[in-house]
Every structure is written in structure tokens, then in C-alpha cells.
Symmetry: C2
Subunit: 258 residues, 2 copies
């Protein structure tokens, strides 16, 4: 009898506490908080529970210094990134024009090193980083990573092509750049980058120097054309943007002979 | 005094022997021998000293069976290679047409394996071999090797392109095929092949299957065009053949939109 009383008590008390929690959660979710980057321009307000998730990807979150392999702790707005690079990291060579940039590297330089270059075109700045990393087993691998000094949305509007050339041979990598706002490691895991080992580097190098050509395309979509073209061998399996990108590159070549 | 006499004697005898050797060599070089492949059609005759060097590269030397990773010891004439492959190695899939062939592989198949496919176009047979090899450290690497069932001279007239595609990404390798008469290992050392590791394979694979597209071009030279075009970004550094090859590929794409 007593036991059943106890049971009843604990039963009713647990009901009360759970309904109280539900009520508190309802209240918390109805209260909207501003994003912590409101002072930088973000106008989003959202419940406490969604706040962290938004702030981790907020376009107004500060940009870190994209200069690789340094301890630079600088953070700031997107507009301040280029001035910071120019003032604090003076050694970056910058070239103008979308057509091609040649980065020449001495592939025999010892150790784990990187080469860095900026390319300015379409009113944007693109950063090309080539890293030479040691693999398990002692041999080296080269990684070419391309980033836009801009937002993820802006990065989606561009495509690039990296080329290694020697007579009768060509290795080409075509992709979209990632934004300096993205996590490089996960961007490479998801989208990859141009990766080649020392054998390929020596194959394309001349006197120990390797030229890497870069060309940029501002993408635009053309879905009707895409649908009409999806059976073509050279574009089957590609979405609209690379199709247009590829055509633009092709026309650049073709026009030379006209 | 005696010593000087001895010196004189030895001096004159060495002169006699060296002049005898020179004479013998002169006679040997004036005698011409037929190539050991004369019965197969080689009409070359040459001194004994040059015979071996010629025979190692003679176009009339027998062709070995090009089927990879087998103990097949077959040798025969070029005309007999395809009949041999069809009769003794029945499992080779063969596709017609130069435009594109898709070789789909299950990249997760365990162990060191290879995939083989024949492509027939321009009146020739081309063999595409993709090998999955274990690297030092336990990871795997893929090698795509393309061979013409033909002579080295015939191989120089062709160019091929291998493509890995996914939306907004493309990895392309353009090169000339090697002949089945060439040593594959040294051909790869000199000219390379499409090499990619498991990370790149997974990047382009869908549900564990990787598509490799192949397109072929019969090359022709056009030196005036080449000279006029050598400043263009997309062809600078390439010789005439890849220029034309690239243009043909480009025009195939461009024509889809016209």
C-alpha cells in the first residue's frame, strides 16, 4: 500500500518535471538571439539552439590569414585580407590576367616546402599554393591547391584549369576553387586537388624546373544547352558549368587558328 | 745500353701487333652480314659489330604476346598478334569507335589486379590496361597504360586522352600510345602514363565504380599553324601534334552547341 503511494508520488513528480522541461524548451526556442557577427553585418536572429551551427558557417565570420605554413594569427573582414597579405606577407608574386599563369618550381628543392602565387582576374584574387609533402615511405608528393580570396558563393562562380605540359604529353586538372573561408583539409577531402608524385614531376620538368599553367573561367549556366549536349562524349557526366568552362577553353585554342 | 736495345725491340713488336689488329678490324668491318630477321622481311645487311644493336630494335623482330600478367610465351608476326589474342585470350572486351570508350572498374577489388580492354578505330587496335599495384607502405596506385597493336612508327601517328570525370571536376591525361613492340617499363619511365592513387580513385568513383573515358585522335602535322600559334597559352610548350589533337577534341565539343 505504502509502496503504491510512493509509486504514485514519483510518477506524478516525473510527469511534472518533464512538462516543466518541455515548457522551458518551448520558451527558449521562442526567444531569438542575434548572430555574434551582427556587428560585422549579419542580420540573422535565431534560437540559442541553432546559434552555434549558424555562426560556424556565417558569411560574416572573420577570415583568417590564408598565408600557408605560418603562425600568422591575423583575422579580419574579407576586404582586409588582401591589404593584410600585401603588408605583412610581402613576398607573394602577383600576376594579372585570366588566361594563364606559369608557376615555375625547382622540384629538387629539399624538404617539405611550398610555393605561393596570386593571380588577379575578373576583379578577384586567386591564390595558388603548391605544397611538396613527404609521404609515408620517404618519397614526396605535390599538392596544388587553389583558393579564392572571397566567399564560398563567389568561389562557385569560377573554374580553373592547371596544366603540366611536355611535347605530346599533358596532365590537366579542372575544378572549382575553394574559398579561403573553407577548411582546406576538408575541401581537399571532398573535392580533391591536383596531386602528383615526384615521378610525374620529373617527367614534366626541364632541368629540374616544372612549369604549372593556370587558366581561369568565370562560369555561367546554360541549362538548355546542357540538356541538348549531355550525350556528347566530351561532356557526358559533367554538369553545366564545366561544360561551358571547357567550351570557353576550347574556343580560346580554336580562335588562334581563325 | 742493353736496356735500350730491349726497349727498341719491345717497341717495334708492339707496333707490329697493333697494326695487325687494326687490319683485322678493318677486314671484319668490310664484311656485311644479314639481319637475323631476314627471313621475316628485313633486308638490312651490316658489320658484325653493329648487328646486335640493329636486331634489338629491328621492326621485323617477333612480337611477344601483349596480354599482361600471364605466362604466355607466344611470339609471332604483327599480323598474328590479334588472331592470337582472340583465340588464346578470349576474355578481352573489344569496343569500336574513336570517340570514347568507358572502362568501368570496381576500385575496391582487393589485391594487385588489372583491367584490360581493346578499342578498335582508324583501322587499328589499341589496348588499354589499368593496373592496381601495391605501393611501399601498403596503399595502392592505379596505372593506365595504352598500347597500339602496331609498330613504333605507327604509334607516333596517334594520340589519346584518358579522362576521369565528376561534376565540376576533371582529371585528363593526353599522350601518345606506345607500341606493343616497346618495352613497357622503359616506355613508362620515359613517357609516363596516367597514374593516380586510391584517394583520387575514390574522389571520382560512384558507388565504388570508376569510369575511365578514352578518346583517340589520328595526328597530322601543320607546321605553319603551329608556328603562328606558339604564343597561345593553351598550346605554348606543346608540339604540333598535341595542338592539332587538342583542337580536334575541342571542336568535337564545340560542334555540339552549333
Amino acid at each position: 500500500m505504502e509502496e503504491s503511494m510512493v509509486e504514485k508520488k514519483s510518477d506524478s513528480s516525473s510527469k511534472t518535471s518533464s512538462s516543466t522541461e518541455a515548457g522551458a524548451e518551448k520558451v527558449a526556442n521562442s526567444v531569438l538571439f542575434p548572430c555574434k557577427y551582427a556587428s560585422s553585418g549579419c542580420e540573422v536572429t535565431l534560437p540559442q539552439t541553432d546559434k552555434r551551427e549558424h555562426e560556424e558557417l556565417c558569411d560574416f565570420r572573420p577570415y583568417s590569414c590564408p598565408y600557408p605554413a605560418t603562425s600568422c594569427r591575423w583575422q579580419g573582414s574579407l576586404d582586409a585580407v588582401m591589404p593584410h597579405l600585401v603588408q605583412k606577407h610581402k613576398s607573394i608574386p602577383t600576376l594579372q590576367g585570366e588566361d594563364v599563369v606559369i608557376l615555375t618550381i625547382d622540384i629538387n628543392m629539399p624538404g617539405e616546402i611550398f610555393w605561393l602565387m596570386m593571380q588577379s582576374c575578373f576583379g578577384f584574387h586567386f591564390m595558388l599554393v603548391l605544397q611538396k609533402r613527404r609521404k609515408y615511405g620517404g618519397s614526396h608528393q605535390f599538392f596544388a591547391i587553389v583558393q579564392l580570396i572571397g566567399t564560398e558563393k563567389q568561389a562557385e562562380k569560377f573554374g580553373y584549369r592547371l596544366e603540366l605540359n611536355k611535347p605530346q604529353h599533358r596532365l590537366t586538372w579542372e575544378a572549382r576553387p575553394c574559398s579561403i573561408h573553407e577548411n582546406i583539409a576538408s575541401a581537399i577531402m571532398n573535392d580533391g586537388c591536383l596531386i602528383f608524385d615526384t615521378f610525374v614531376a620529373h617527367l614534366f620538368a626541364q632541368n629540374g624546373n616544372l612549369d604549372i599553367k593556370t587558366s581561369w573561367i568565370k562560369r555561367f549556366t546554360h541549362y538548355d544547352t546542357c540538356r541538348a549536349a549531355t550525350t556528347d562524349m566530351a561532356i557526358d557526366g559533367l554538369d553545366c558549368n564545366p561544360l561551358i568552362e571547357h567550351l570557353l577553353l576550347c574556343r580560346t585554342v580554336t580562335s588562334v587558328l581563325q
